[in-house]
């Protein structure tokens, strides 16, 4: 019961959080497969996307509602495919070490601006997210877009694999920014903790939930490129705490 307390009672010491080691995987082979997939689906996706746009331009002002709904569903699905393509390309670039953050000074409050709340698009009821943002230092030097993308992936995962509330805490010191997402969901089997950050890997207990297994590998790629570390504590059917610690570039 003690470990459960760690998860549920938010304020209790989190000494049990462990730093995640990133296991090796066959990067060359992954890269080859990703290149092949991204090449082969890019044409059909491009055709879909362009034609949906053309079609919507051809709609008259009083086009009937059903047609609009049909097209908008096509559009959303095509967008989903585009996002998938973007994601696997990002992973491929990270395998080849050619993503580099664009470091700039920004306000920590900017991370959660209105644009970020695009998360509503995901129909996962973002109202379940409780935000505790209490940064000691209000500004940080890092890559804002990368951080948003990390957060986006962490939150969608947390919402997807738990039905209860999800807590997001953001804190900062002079040297670092810490982002922590806690859920009370299915958890990650202990022996899969390291592998879960590899692309296309999916936990053995979530096979029935749809997904590609890309979210955490993107979190890992971006965190790595920002020089950050990932800490994790997870218990089956009790929940997961995932903490990202990113260095404040200005402090270095």
């Amino acid at each position: 019961m003690e470990s459960k307390n760690i998860l549920i009672g938010g304020g209790i010491s989190r000494t049990e959080l462990k730093m995640v080691r990133f296991t090796e995987f066959n990067e060359v082979e992954y890269s080859r497969i990703i290149s092949a997939i991204s090449h082969d689906i890019s044409n059909p996706v491009a055709i879909l996307k362009s034609n949906i746009q053309l079609l919507s331009n051809n709609f008259s002002k009083n086009e009937n509602e059903l047609n609009r709904e049909i097209l908008s569903m096509c559009d959303e699905s095509a967008e989903e495919l585009v996002r998938f393509l973007d994601n696997i390309r990002l992973i491929n670039l990270s395998i080849k070490s050619i993503i580099t953050p664009k470091i700039a000074l920004f306000k920590i409050d900017d991370i959660l601006n209105d644009r970020f709340l695009d998360i509503e698009k995901l129909s996962l009821n973002p109202k379940r997210i409780f935000i505790r943002s209490n940064p000691e230092f209000t500004e940080i030097s890092s890559d804002l877009e990368f951080i948003r993308q990390i957060l986006f992936n962490l939150l969608t995962n947390a919402l997807k694999f738990s039905r209860a509330e999800v807590t997001l805490s953001i804190s900062s010191t002079e040297a670092s920014l810490e982002i922590e997402v806690q859920d009370f969901g299915v958890g990650i089997p202990e022996n899969e903790v390291d592998e879960i950050f590899n692309p296309f890997f999916r936990g053995s207990n979530v096979k029935k939930t749809p997904g590609m297994g890309l979210g955490l590998s993107i979190v890992k790629a971006l965190t790595k490129s920002l020089g950050g570390k990932i800490y994790l504590l997870s218990l089956i059917n009790q929940g997961t705490i995932l903490r990202i610690v990113l260095p404040n570039e200005r402090a270095n």
Binding site: A46, L54, V82, S97, I98, I99, T100
Partner: protein, 357 residues
């Protein structure tokens, strides 16, 4: 009114080609679609497009080969060329930009972004064309040597220097054909080559010729002909006539002479004009002002190693610096070039001749 802008699409995926065609047509462009590389090359000559969109991955002739063939021909070597690729790999982009391709489009794309990028390329191309024309006009008037424009037969325009050399009435010159200003034997010597130029088989040639005799004396001149501009049904060529050629340094003298005049007139020699000059003279390169490198030595080293696709760790080891320092150099380069990632930095550096491959 404006003539319709013509775009050539070369893509072996019929559906994607038609899709892009529809997007462009609905935005008012004239479109020609070729569904393979060979046909694309043929259409480029027939259709004489203002811009070419070309897929990379095609069989048996791929996009790179199409680009190389078209670049060889002076008729379309300045036409903006945009690659469409399904691959966002560094390798591809590096290779393409090394070839001199204007832009890249990674599939899938937003229709409005495609149109915006095309418009950007076109306006740059039009601007260059306009600058080229103005420079040409200045050069044309001021040159101490004879210059004329002709379509393989009729002379459309001639500069004051040519009028002087030919000792003709300026008002009558443009009613002459090239045949009439040369002596018969000289014209026969170059007739085949002129014909080849009009057909796009030859870009330029030079020959010592005699002018048609006036007042009983035959003037020896050095004649250089270069294709100037290709239109859908005829080719405009530029002829350069130099009197009393001393075999050694005609071109040297000519280049320095022209540069002097240009300097005096405060005319900047840009890429396009410099190229035109060297095409004719084919000996000396007019020095084109290059942008000084904006990167530090260390940044350049990091950039070169990054272009080899090496991981950060290896780069750090090679340069005996830490991973973080490598990252810092990269960030600094991204800052300087306003890029989002290293690929954009490399693209920027290649475009601005900051690095050699």
């Amino acid at each position: 009114m404006n003539v319709q802008t013509k775009i050539l699409i070369i893509d072996d995926d019929q559906r994607l080609g038609r899709t892009i065609e529809n997007v462009l047509k609905s935005n008012g462009y004239g479109v020609c679609f070729a569904n393979n590389g060979a046909l694309g090359i043929q259409k480029a000559f027939e259709y004489n497009p203002d811009l070419i969109l070309c897929d990379i991955n095609m069989n048996p002739i791929d996009g790179y080969q199409v680009y190389n063939v078209l670049k060889e021909s002076s008729l379309i070597d300045r036409t903006p060329f945009i690659f469409i690729t399904g691959n966002s790999d560094l390798q591809d982009i590096r290779f393409g930009l090394n070839l001199g391709v204007d832009d890249y489009f990674v599939k899938p794309f937003d229709n409005s972004n495609l149109i915006r990028s095309i418009e950007k390329r076109l306006s740059k191309y039009r601007r260059l064309k306009e600058i080229g024309k103005q420079e040409f006009k200045a050069l044309f008037k001021l040159s101490p040597y004879g210059i004329f424009l002709f379509d393989g037969n009729m002379i459309f325009e001639a500069n004051p220097a040519l009028v002087r050399i030919l000792e003709l009435d300026a008002t009558k010159l443009t009613s002459y054909s090239i045949r009439e200003i040369l002596d018969i034997a000289s014209f026969q010597k170059i007739e085949v080559r002129i014909h080849k130029c009009t057909k796009g088989l030859l870009n330029s040639f030079s020959e010592n010729v005699s002018l048609a005799s006036r007042n009983g004396q035959k003037k020896q001149v050095f004649l250089s002909v270069s294709v100037y501009e290709k239109y859908s049904n005829h080719t405009l060529m530029m002829g350069l006539v130099i009197q009393n050629p001393s075999n050694e340094t005609v071109a040297d003298v000519y280049v320095s002479e022209i540069l002097k005049i240009l300097k005096k007139e405060n005319i900047v020699v840009t890429d396009a004009m410099g190229k035109k000059l060297t095409d004719i003279l084919r000996i000396h390169t007019v020095k084109i002002k290059k942008q000084a490198s904006i990167f530090s030595d260390r940044e350049n080293q990091v950039l070169h190693l990054s272009m080899e696709g090496l991981p950060i760790k290896t780069i750090a080891d090679k340069l005996s610096i830490s991973d973080r320092t490598v990252e810092k150099h990269r960030s600094s380069m991204m800052g300087k070039t306003n890029s989002k990632n290293m690929i954009e930095v490399i693209v920027y550096a290649l475009r601005n001749n900051l690095i050699d491959l």
